[in-house]
Amino acid sequence: MASEDFAVEVDGVVKRFGSLHALAGVSLRIRQGEVYGLLGPNGAGKTTLIRSLVGLVKPEEGSVTVLNRRMPNLDVLAHVGYMTQQAALYPDLTVEENLRFFAAINGVHGGIREALEVVGLWDRRGSIVSSLSGGMRTRCSLACALVHKPELLLLDEPTVGVDPLLRMQLWDRFQKMAREGTTILVSSHVMDEAERCDRLGLIRFGRLLAEGTVAQLQARAGVNRLEDAFLKLSEASAA
């Protein structure tokens, strides 16, 4: 397959923090328009991997290519949306002011209304962020990651602390965006979300243990539930 079909190519990436191997030689490829789920427990290396995709983590070994550009590359970041785990917003600004700021630093002017409608916050655009509920802040944070219409969307545990109804709506959005061509990498430790991904990567101890569709992973582990598959596959690789 030609390399331009991949939005993300990670090749043998190693990153240590002191003696801890946060990433111990991870390789993965994400196709354009794919929803790729990065599954793993806390501390598995999910966030470090995502941070390496935007150049915030410099790999000691290996290479990271995003949208056909070798990272670190600042210009390619205008086409990447990154939603951090913590709803990173300016609490003293209104919802709309936050969006305007993140649009401007990514070099676009419009798209604010569109992004806010996606997350259902257009009516709250005048609210000061610190007055919003936790779920609204998460949605606002997502809108900030979407506002410049990125080709690649990196979502670090976007549904933590989000109620089930909103979670379902957000996943509908993700899948719709993917159908429209956006590549989405989403990390999670919630298994039921994994079912909605095109492909999954199981990550633990900084290693990618297994990769494939839900059905492939279940077949490989010989079990019917994804949760069991995950446990079985991590045991198998630890042994």
Partner: protein, 365 residues
């Protein structure tokens, strides 16, 4: 009231400090450093103010006063001609000189009352005070020798004068200090908030260049700082009537440069703090030594040698000198001393901008 609940809070507080070594170090280290600095300034045997003695008297009493002054430990007095004394006073090499008139001995012996002239440079009240004290002591010595001589001094000032009050002297220095201090605090905390609320991470994952972040911050806070500088200046000059012999535009220029130094120093130092609490700790470390060493209260020239070197490494020293040159002496851009002050403050500004931008890059990688 439950003793247990109260003690739970107390214990938790002490535990927090145990985990925060830096705060502990500051809490127990900073007072000692500040007091040691103060002790060193005041007792460290620094240079004493230089004064001239112009003795036109040929009798014994003029010589007595002159030699008493020369042997004084609180001033470094040396005899010179009036022309030389005037030249050195204008150059700022003397804090003042005393003029013993030709009829000094005669008048002292016949009228038991003498008047002598004291010419003071006048910019730094501490120096003027030391000289007047030394003159007074010399006359006490004279009185005990010659018996019952009353003396009066006729003091004139090269800069400032009897119509200057304490605020006129300190106002100039404090205008610079206030702007520097507040802008520094606000920037440090604001930039740190960017880090703690996670938005810095987002900025770093955007096409923003590091220098763009630093420059954007600088412009934003500089706008605020300039408005503040205008306010402080207008209040000082129009309502407090702090004396000003110089150009208001020049004062503003110097204030603006100091504000830029403060903004970037704030950005730079906030890289070394993880929490707002830690950032606030930079205040005593950055501000207090500068207050003691920049010549606001204690003249730089009378500090012990090593401290003078340190003083000349601090930006506030140049700002204070520059402010006094403009406001008290009426300096304009043709003065080489003011050119130096402005150049040094500008140099500091560039230095901290670069430091801020490079540290930002390193801390993120």
């Amino acid at each position: 009231m439950s003793r247990r609940r109260i003690l739970a809070i107390t214990r938790r507080l002490l535990q927090q400090f145990r985990h925060d070594r830096r705060t502990l170090a500051l809490l127990f280290g900073a007072p000692l450093i500040i007091l040691a600095l103060l002790g060193y300034i005041l007792r460290g045997g620094g240079d004493v103010p230089a004064m001239g003695v112009v003795n036109l008297d040929e009798g014994p009493l003029g010589a007595l006063v002159a030699s008493t002054l020369e042997s004084s430990r609180t001033v470094a007095a040396s005899r010179m001609s009036r022309q030389e004394a005037d030249a050195k006073l204008h150059a700022g090499d003397l804090a003042g000189y005393v003029l013993l008139p030709a009829d000094f001995t005669n008048r002292a012996q016949q009228q038991h009352a003498v008047v002598l002239g004291v010419e003071l440079e006048g910019t730094e009240p501490a120096l003027s005070g030391t000289i007047m004290q030394a003159v007074g002591q010399a006359f006490t010595a004279l009185a005990s020798q010659a018996g019952g001589v009353r003396f009066a001094t006729q003091v004139s000032y090269l800069h400032g004068g009897a119509n200057f009050d304490t605020l006129d002297y300190f106002g100039a220095a404090f205008i610079g200090l206030v702007v520097f201090f507040l802008v520094f605090v606000v920037t440090t905390v604001a930039f740190l908030r960017e880090r703690s609320q996670g938005t810095l991470e987002r900025l770093m994952a955007s096409p923003l260049r590091r220098p763009e972040i630093v420059l954007g911050y600088m412009l934003g806070f500089t706008v605020l700082a300039l408005v503040q500088a205008i306010e402080v200046l207008a209040f000082s000059l129009l309502l407090l009537h702090v004396h000003n012999s110089g150009n208001v535009g020049l004062i503003f220029l110097l204030e603006a440069l100091m504000a830029i130094v403060a903004v970037n120093l704030g950005i730079f130092l906030s890289m070394f703090a993880r929490t707002e609490f830690q950032a606030v700790q930079f205040i005593p470390l950055v501000i207090v030594p500068q207050m003691l060493l920049s010549g606001i209260i204690f003249p730089v020239t009378t500090e012990p040698g090593p401290l003078q070197v340190l003083s000349r490494l601090l930006p506030l020293t140049y700002a204070v000198t520059g402010m006094r040159d403009i406001m008290i002496k009426g300096a304009d851009l043709s003065w080489s001393s003011l050119q130096l002050d402005l150049a040094v403050v500008l140099g500091f500004a560039i230095l901290v901008i670069i430091a801020g931008a490079t540290t930002l890059r390193r801390r993120i990688a």
